[in-house]
Amino acid sequence: MKRLFSLYIMLVLLLTGCINDFEQPTIENYGMVGVMGFDMGEEEGHMKVTLTLPQPEKDAETKVQKFTVEVESPHRAIMEGSTKSEKLLSTAQLRVILFSEEFAREVGVWEVLENLYRDPRVGTNSYLAVVGGGTVEDLLNSDYHDKPDINRYLNQLLKPSTITAFSPFTTIHHFIRHVTSQVSDSLAPYIEKSGDSIKLTKVALFKEDKFISTIEREEAKIVESIKRNRKTSDISYNLPNDGENEGEDSVIVLNFIRSSRNIKTNGDPNNPEIYIYLYITGAVVDYTGKSDLSVHGQRGEVEEKLSNAIEESLLGSLNKFQELRIDPIAIGDNFRKKDRSNWSKEYWNDIFQRANITVHVEPRITSTGTIH
């Protein structure tokens, strides 16, 4: 039996002589692209792709290698980039994908993301963001003195953290899930160059795969709270007529915020009704108003004013979504359970646009810190 087994191994190993193979590159030969940025190309149907990868040469002046090429598809950019670099470029460590506002608005991001999604080497956890106020090429080629490694900087910036919890932290998977969903639309972080830094300034709204508008950070925090029960970042609101002087606004900042939400719908496509209940609890860290928060009645009044302010803001965002015929919160899921019609995103957008939305927000101040 052993002889037969040895013979078998010999035979199959001999067969491998027929393999027409070439020398495989080792890990040192690879240049791992960390960021891919997409701008409008100069030629029709082309895109300008900027690639950044860690600098392999210790003595080089910069910590990052950057290449910009004009091509028709993302993997062509990798091929073209490889001809400029001493390394064989690979997408295996791709962490961040950036689109200029113009590219996301005019061309749309689907074609790029679909091709990256197709590549098993690209992790579906790679973050994406929209770059405002200029091109991606400019953003990536700028100097950030105290952040020399743009790959790491952008990756850390776009990673979920408490302080930036307003951001949707969209990955390739999330974007594709929302774009292809029968209910919801996608959101993405919106970043801009701000002096020596890059700043998360707003949240980009998408209809299908195209950028259409933005919402501000405070609005986005509440929108994120409505999307699911979660801990969110600090919130800050102006409370009208609550200041020390008559007619003056006060400012209140809450932190350690926990939110829970409940969405109800009537399931009637002819007269759609949507009820959104949001319960948020947090501790006061800043308050410039006249009320004494240690007094039960006065604290209730502040909560009431805060409730009105958040309701107004939330309703404003929802009305904007209705106008744009998008549903980034996926309210349609609740409606769909009761509606057995043939469902499509367009069908839901039509219902959502006509829906009568009622919002009820209940903020609870659990603590006023270590003083009254």
Binding site: L4, Y8, V12, T16, I19, H173
Partner: protein
């Protein structure tokens, strides 16, 4: 290798042989295969469990009538030499193609995800050498390997947590918006994951406690169904309909959801570990095919070289220049139809057994009367 028909499989062997004969590489693709019914796919998985339970009964009943014989022997006993041999040849072809199919799907996955710069030749050869080493120890060795595979891979289920954390449970709400044709398509295309339980007819004579074989096999089947169900539920809540329809390996993308501080791209580890499950399933089929060669060419006597021969044939099918459209026809259609024929075969054989028994009794009565 198995010499004689002595009983050697205890209840744990039976449970895990059945568990591993379901699933295999299809675990990677099952949400895609069932995507014809969209988010209702979890119901199809339960249906698979029920169907397997129903068709398992005639298999164990047939086994209890012939406690020392594999299906190859039973075929010859009940249908006669010529028809029996023809049936055995068809089963041999079916098992060999199943070996090639299971191996090829996995090897392609490894090649495209973890070793994109290599051809499949060396991976396939290595895979088959390991498979031969497992089968050389006989059915008990395969059973032990199946137990090992289960415990070395089951913990990967923990990583579905990430998918559930980022999920939409509204998707699980049952909606019967699909036509019967869609349900039929999903059931047919997903069947590959269920049909493996028919292999019990080949290792039944090796089971020690044959009276409880049905119970132990049922535990194995439902264990597998629970894991398949878990993968489907995680996929349902994590993906959109489009993703389910277009992603070839949804399990791979589920693993990509995992974010750990010390390990990246956990799917590579997942694919590597799943080789154990795929090897278990392919080994059971290859062992069955080898028994088929024994039945056809050495009057059921064990010959080790038969294993090398049939492994080489399967390896050739994996590496050989078979046109894609022929592969699609064989792997996606023919093999599933053949699998259904195999699970229906014991019903036909049981009927034949009853008819033959009745004839025998009548002849006995006539002989005693005269």
């Amino acid at each position: 290798m198995d010499k004689g028909n002595f009983k050697k499989l205890n209840k744990y062997h039976v449970i895990f042989l059945l568990h591993c004969s379901l699933g295999g590489i299809a675990l990677f693709t099952i949400p895609h295969n069932l995507s014809h019914v969209g988010y209702n796919m979890w119901m199809v998985v339960i249906l698979f469990g029920i169907v397997a339970m129903i068709f398992l009964k005639p298999m164990t009943s047939l086994g209890s009538k012939f406690p020392d014989d594999t299906l190859y022997v039973i075929n010859e006993k009940l249908t006669g030499k010529a028809v029996g041999k023809l049936l055995n040849l068809l089963i041999l072809i079916y098992s060999t193609i199943q070996v090639a199919n299971t191996s090829k799907l996995y090897i392609r996955l490894v090649q495209s995800v973890t070793m994109p710069d290599y051809t499949i030749t060396m991976i396939a050869i290595t895979f088959f050498i390991v498979m031969i080493a497992i089968i050389n120890g006989g059915i008990k060795s395969i059973a032990r390997f199946s137990i090992l595979s289960f415990f070395l891979t089951v913990w990967m289920g923990y990583y579905s947590n990430w998918a559930f954390a980022d999920s939409n449970f509204h998707h699980l709400y049952p909606r019967f918006e699909h036509s019967l044709k869609d349900w039929g398509h999903a059931f047919f295309e997903g069947s590959q994951i269920m049909l493996g339980f028919a292999l019990i007819m080949f290792f039944y004579p090796y089971i020690i406690n044959q009276k409880k074989a049905y119970k132990h096999a049922a535990i194995g089947i439902w264990l597998a169904i629970i894991f398949i169900g878990l993968i489907c539920v995680a996929s349902i809540v994590y993906f959109s309909r489009w993703q389910l329809e277009n992603l070839l390996y949804p399990l791979l993308n589920l693993y990509q959801a995992v974010v750990l501080s010390n390990v990246e791209r956990i799917e590579t580890l997942g694919i590597s570990l799943y080789v154990l499950l795929v090897l278990s399933k392919a080994s059971i089929y290859l062992w069955t095919a080898k028994k088929g060669v024994d039945a056809l060419f050495s009057k059921h006597k064990n010959k080790t070289w038969h294993l090398y021969f049939i492994a080489s044939v399967a390896l050739f099918i994996v590496l050989g220049p078979i046109p894609i459209y022929v592969q699609a026809l064989i792997y996606d259609k023919w093999i599933i139809i053949a699998g259904y024929v195999l699970i229906l075969l014991p019903i036909f054989l049981l009927m034949l057994y009853k008819v033959k028994n009745r004839e025998k009794r009548n002849k006995g009565k006539e002989a005693s009367a005269s």
